[in-house]
Amino acid sequence: MSGRDYLGEFEHIIVLALLRLEDRAYGVTVRQEIEFRTHREVSIGAVYATLNRLETKGLVKSHCGDPTPERGGRSKRFFRVTAKGVSAVNRAQRALYSMTEGLDLARSYS
C-alpha cells in the first residue's frame, strides 16, 4: 500500500458520500449529502478539488451525463468509487476504529 492511498478527512467523507449516493453521485448531490450529514457548509470547488485528486489516485472514476435545461444546457459529471477506493475507505475506517476503540472521548475531554 503506498502512502498516496491514505485518505485525508475530507477525502474520506467524499468517498463515503459517493458510496451512499451510488449512481446519483455528482457535484450537487455530493455537496448536499455532506452538508446534510455533517452540518458544515461545503463549496462546490472543494468537492471538485477533492474528487479530481481522488480520480488521479484511481480511487474514483467519472463519466459525463447528458446536458439538462435546469443546468443551462450543461452536463453532469457522475462519480463512482473504484475497487481501490473501497479498499482505501475500508482501511481508513479500520484505522479510525482501531484508534478510537476503548477510548471514552466524552469522559476524557469533559
Partner: protein
Amino acid sequence: MTSQPQIVQPPRIAVRLVNLFSSDKEAETIEGDLQEEYTHIASKRGAPFARRWYWRQTAKTIAHLAGTAYRTAPWSTTSAIAGGFLLRRLAARFVEPAIFAVIDRYQIFEHHFSTYKFLASTGIDIGHILVFLFVGCVVALGAKGREMVATMMLGFIFGAMAVVAVLVMVSRTGDDAFLWRLTWYVVDSFAVVIGGGIIRTRRSTATVRSAVA
C-alpha cells in the same frame, strides 16, 4: 403534475469569475452544478438569498481552485511569476525613452504644448500600465492552466511592494502627495491580472471553438 422551477440566471460576474479560475474541463460541470442549485434555491427562498448563496459559493470555489492550481505545479507557476517580475523591470526602462522619442519625432513640445504636458506626465503612467498588461499576458502564456493564479500572485507582489515603497517615501519626506501615486500603482497591479484574464479567456474560447468544430 409537478411544476419545474423557473430557470433564473445567476450573477454574471460571479459566473465569469468561476469560469476564469476553473480549467476548461471543470468549468462546464462546476457552472452547471451552481446553476442547478441556484435555480432551486431561488425558487424556494427567493432571488436575493440565492444571489448571496451564489456569491459565497463563488468566493470559496475560487479559493479552492486557485489553491489546487498552484499546488499541482508550484515550480512552473513560481518560475512564470519570477519571469514576469524580471520582464517588468526590463520593459519599464523603455517607457520614458519611447514616449520622449515620440515627442521629439513629432516636435510635440514646440507645436502642441498641452499634449506634451499630458504625454510627459499621464502618458508615462499609461505607458507603465500597458507594460504591466503586457507582463500579465506573457506570464499567463507561460502558466497555462494557472493563468489567473500566477497573474494574481504577481499583481499582489507588485501591489504590496508599491504600498511599502510609498509608505517609506511618505514617512521619510512627510509629503502626502506620494499617497496619490498609489492609485496608479494599484491600477498597474490590476493590469497584470487583466492581462491574465485576457489570455485565459482567449484560451477558453479557443477550446470551446475546437470542441464545437
